[in-house]
Symmetry: C2
Subunit: 339 residues, 2 copies
């Protein structure tokens, strides 16, 4: 983990820093506010943070009553309503101006929070972040990325999100942001950047990839050419770039396969192991095929720190996303991205 080369990094400051202020959309996620609040409270045990829980004040306080918060820095910030997955983000943005994701994002915008953690609708998080925080220069839409395979925990895939029809210049932006992330967050020197395609030769791929190849070659990135589907497991590249259509299919396919393999291996392994031993194996297998669930990932390209977690996060995963948020702020990643 590298941060020492960043003069603005909070982690290497010579005097004690105030605690990082983490806003959490307490209404976001399939198991909100219960699991979301539980995970946020758990994160207080491992990090010196100030927690800003955004949500319906009554509901959130009701959850908080379950825990001993003596000496803990927790505030509730009231909001009204939430934006769900099946609403059009822009429409909902106008209809529900006090929705939890909007109030939470504004806390980052106004400097009242250092980072926002959202487990709610990714589309709503992206749209709200773009509108409230604004995009970095030269970027049009936020993207999502990061390591997504426990079998290749240092390989970053960009974009995992909803940028489904991308021009080459957008793919190049994903590559640049992923490169900074791999370097600063994962400590990879001079990250190798590749385009995901159907063959390693320059001539292989669809029009989008073929048009992007030359742009990547001419960039300042450490471009190593095209990689193929099996190369996620071959350490051929540190940052693998595709559009969000392909990335989203891959990440969901991986999750589904992890779950299905659990059942399949159960039948295969039951002669050799006890149920409890198998549970341990399956738990590891699940984690390795559900990496983004365990740690969340930053929303790249917006002028503010936002970490998005999986909608189906339980308390452990909420705490994992908050852990990522704290490290993201400590490492001064946002400033690196802007550069």
């Amino acid at each position: 983990m590298q941060s020492a080369d960043n003069p603005s990094s909070r982690s290497e400051a010579s005097k004690p820093q105030p605690p990082i202020r983490v806003a959490v959309d307490a209404m976001g996620g399939d198991y909100a506010p219960g699991e979301t609040v539980k995970g946020a409270v758990a994160a207080l045990d491992t990090h010196d943070i100030e927690l800003l829980l955004v949500g319906d004040a009554g509901a959130v306080e009701g959850e908080l009553d379950k825990y001993d918060l003596e000496g803990k820095a927790v505030k509730v910030v009231g909001s009204v309503g939430k934006i769900s997955d099946d609403e059009h983000p822009m429409h909902a943005f106008r209809q529900k101006p006090e929705a939890s994701i909007i109030v939470g994002t504004k806390l980052v915008k106004t400097g009242q929070a250092d980072v926002l953690v959202s487990l709610g609708s990714t589309g709503a998080s992206m749209a709200t972040a773009a509108l409230v925080l604004g995009m970095m220069d030269g970027l049009e839409r936020p993207c999502i990325g990061g390591p997504f395979l426990g079998l290749a925990p240092r390989t970053v895939l960009m974009d995992l999100g909803s940028n489904v029809d991308c021009r080459p210049s957008q793919l190049l932006n994903f590559a640049a942001l992923g490169s900074v992330f791999a370097h600063r967050f994962l400590g990879t020197e001079n990250p190798r950047v590749a385009l995901l395609s159907v063959g390693s030769e320059k001539s292989k791929g669809n029009r989008q990839v073929q048009d992007s190849y030359q742009l990547f070659e001419e960039s300042h990135l450490n471009f190593v050419g095209n990689v193929e589907g099996m190369d996620f497991f071959n350490d051929r590249a540190d940052v693998i770039v595709c559009d969000g259509f392909v990335g989203n299919i891959l990440i969901k396919f991986t999750e589904g396969m992890g779950t299905a393999l659990g059942g399949y291996l159960g039948r295969l392994l039951s002669p050799y192991m006890s149920d409890e031993q198998m549970r341990g194996v399956f738990n590891e297998l699940w984690q390795t095929t559900n990496l983004p669930r365990t740690m969340g990932g930053p929303l790249f390209g917006v002028n503010g720190a936002v970490i998005v977690g999986h909608g189906s996060s339980r308390a452990d995963e909420v705490a994992g996303a908050i852990n990522t948020a704290v490290r993201y702020v400590e490492m001064g990643l946002l400033d690196s991205m802007r550069e």
Copy 2:
């Protein structure tokens, strides 16, 4: 397995049929001609077939000398040269008119063989088949597909090949061909057809999928809408359609994951199992993530029966592809596709 409802099916004929004539490109595949010939000879033990081995006569006969072929129907058909993966198929087609894949495909065209099995370059197989055999009405390019996951052995994915930028009408063709295959080869009644996308709603997906949705809705297919990456494991559809860019990435990703999981599980399971027990588990795991290697798949849309296997096939996989070829002919699948 259904064939009884097809009057032209060879398998339900009332009088004895002559053996199916299977041409094999003996020069195709990473381990040709040794493993290719070995696998083809092995297939003679399980099927009443006549084998036409196409290749350099001296090399093929040298391999055949290793086996006892008493009473077996094996012929060698001479060819000169082979087309490799890194050659442009159209260029090679003109430069090497007697290459093994071309001679083999012509055996099907002229009726000297019922089916061709190719383990060589998929691009060369596709181009040669399109040129020599011609395309079915309304189709422009061959496509490849079939079950690709041992965890979902009855779910057909189309296209796995090199149709990388597809119009909606092409995706619809893939769907129709995959539907016939699922019905006739896998015995699925009224196969459910889906588009692979990033959300189940009609509005979700890239332009290609959105433009295809309505065309699929208006077709005679049993279209059930969009599915997502995890739905391969949920039995949501029998035929899942995507372009060859996405399909090729998915199939190679799956192969890579199977191999990587083998090593990963080895560390996890070694406390519980002997090396030999683990080898059994890994062998099953490998097969479930490498299904197309074990059985090959038909080249869809061409006017002739061609089965393509994986380039890295060993003898067992070559025999598996020949098994698929025999069933394909027995079931009269080509006629069903034409309809």
